[in-house]
Symmetry: none
DNA sequence: TATGAATGAGAATTCATTCAT
DNA sequence: TATGAATGAATTCTCATTCAT
């Protein structure tokens, strides 16, 4: 009876009965948790909702993750792991310094757009003063390769005369992230204050262009011969 | 007994000036709410804690603010009103375009440092998709004068040749806010990932310098005569 | 029967509506908790049951006692306070040493019969290794006056030749408690093993006589002149 | 993979002797259950903990014992069987009546010290009003031989003039058990109230001496010739 | 205006037990 | 025989809100 009801809800082929596949169940719960925590924050997330979102039940959640807090940590770890993986696919050093920086800006922008959960989860974790991150060896070991890559790009650009000197790669990296982050993370209040047009698809390109112009306008030295006249 | 003692402490006769207790109680609760919502977000904030933080009681809170949500809205309105007031004290148009922009960056940076609650409250409101802001006529009427001021600065700079052309004041305003916001709002996770040294007082100045260099490096045209040679 | 008894407790005149008498509500909850913990032990007791037994609700229980564990502690404290009060009403020193000891035995026996909760609560607390008692300053300060009283009786008896010498009052006190405690605390298993007749009202007197004979038979020296012959 | 590895470790071929795993598993679970129920009582015991304590799993526990309650019953039966076995090794009738009683006291004392689980399990069963015992034919058939033995000792002692008359062997048996039981079962609260020194090893001997003196002081008639004079 | 008492609905977490392999 | 996965029903505890004085 119960089985019938349940099976009608879920397609017979995929999940008629309990999965009995630990890894899969765990992954499903984790994915549901990512959505829930991203949408409602740590405090606002509901364990019940995560379980039913995952097509599982609360008990399984505790079976695999022990507590809501630890589940949140697992979510953070997955989120960090995901972005690190995406970063590794970037080959910024294949291009010219200018092109490399341009691609980094674009990557950041597009990643944040494709993964809005990253922004809200990070906000949540900061609201809690990075309490969970502090306890996670895993995350602390996941260093982003991008700071070093950006450092290499800056050095190359300086050497070939295209970039100005004296730029700290960490500060610049943070600035690049900032420009995308703020715009997307605060889109609801920004839309309210400056009008929803700001978030049309056309405006998205405009924002990307602006950010690129800002960063490259700062970095790139006017080329020789490009004498500036009045 | 206790009541008598308490009331004598707050009795109009002993107060220095005939302060309206009602207004004072309301303000105290609001101030406590700002702290609580800033610290814990909307979901994590506790009505009990606000009441006791205010040295008052829950009944008063409901008496003046009707519900937790409306109290949150009041908090947002106060927070926006505060920053608008601070912005009005700025006289960016008294200075040169370059100096005006520099001051705007500095103001933003320092305001965010002095008012960390602004950042977390905004994050909270965005988590809730600006649900409260949408309902607040008051906030929507509180337009920031800075976009227009920045537009004027950009136009002046363009005219006097110091600034590049084609810069959208809104985009630039958002970028300026971004650079401070991200760094401060995510300080806990950033400290965890890049080390706590990033947030020493010395580093603060470095961040401000970097942001200023970035924005002005982009905006300011190399001066005439500053010919670039091989 | 039970309904009648219960409803009389809540007669319309006394508690039709919420009591709004903090002390009374608290006391009612505490009384209900004594019953529930005594019946089911700490682990087996149900917070819901306590609340409804008290004609109140769970929330009030937490309002006044913070947690199940702290409520249990309050119950222990009350239980200890009760027996100490009862002990203070005893005037053992008014009687002869023999009579004094007899009365102590009788008091212990009757108190344990009248207060079966004392036995089970003590068992529970010992199961938990006196975890709660350790935290209770109140209980540690509630010293029983009976050890000292018993010491005085023993000294007097020794002096007037009625009691043997070399008896440690603490050991004897513990033994007196033991004799009643074991019989009553284990009555269910004893009845199962030795038959329920052991707990008839007639047998109760027999037990009291036996315990008195045992203790006094040990303490009291055969009187002079009562020569023992073959 | 993991399963294969595990089962190969326990395969009959690698075991030293061809032990019947079934019996062993059952015994291991039972032993673990004794500990767990003794420590936490019936209500506080956790099926999970028993399984992992036994190095086994919950399914096996249910396979062999059907339910938590039945497992508790099995534990009680084992506990009773153990003490009956130990009692049978006593040969109290080999000695003089006085010596026989002395040995019985000592045996009780030492058995309770060596088997603290007996005390807590009995307390648990009494908290549940001997519910399980009532259902166990096995236990009801396991009569203690000691009542009869004690009866014989008392009769002999009366006949040879060493013991007083009119002593009910059951009452005395219960008293002897009481004196050890109470002291040991309530050791945690007693230590809290009277200080931990009461449970030093030295004090243990003092307690045994006291109990023996008490019982024999009551039982033994002053010897003939030991006329009491003025 | 002020305050402590009271509450229902809901939150996280736990538990004994069963299922599938 | 053995094992990990799965679950419904409780269980403790929390929270925003309202009531009585």
């Amino acid at each position: 009876m119960k089985t019938a009801a349940t099976s009608s809800l879920r397609s017979p082929r995929t999940a008629v009965r309990p999965v009995r596949d630990a890894e899969r169940t765990k992954a499903t719960i984790l994915a549901a948790a990512v959505r829930e925590f991203a949408r409602h924050g740590l405090g606002g997330a509901r364990v019940d909702r995560i379980a039913s979102l995952a097509g599982s039940n609360k008990r399984m959640l505790y079976y695999y993750f022990s507590s809501k807090e630890k589940l949140f940590l697992a979510v953070l770890e997955k989120t960090y792991a995901d972005i690190r993986t995406a970063e590794q696919a970037l080959n910024l050093l294949d291009a010219s310094p200018t092109e490399g920086v341009r691609r980094l800006i674009e990557f950041t922008w597009k990643y944040f757009i494709a993964h809005p959960e990253f922004l809200t989860l990070l906000n949540s974790e900061n609201l809690h003063q990075a309490r969970h991150l502090k306890r996670s060896k895993r995350i602390r070991e996941m260093n982003s390769p991008l700071i070093e890559t950006l450092g290499t790009l800056l050095a190359r650009g300086r050497r070939d005369g295209s970039f100005r000197s004296g730029v700290d790669p960490l500060q610049l990296y943070i600035s690049i992230a900032s420009l995308s982050y703020f715009f997307l993370s605060n889109r609801h209040t920004l839309a309210q204050v400056f009008g929803p047009a700001l978030f049309s698809t056309a405006q998205r390109d405009i924002r990307l262009e602006h950010m690129t112009a800002l960063v490259l306008g700062y970095l790139v030295r006017p080329q020789a011969g490009a004498t500036i006249r009045r």
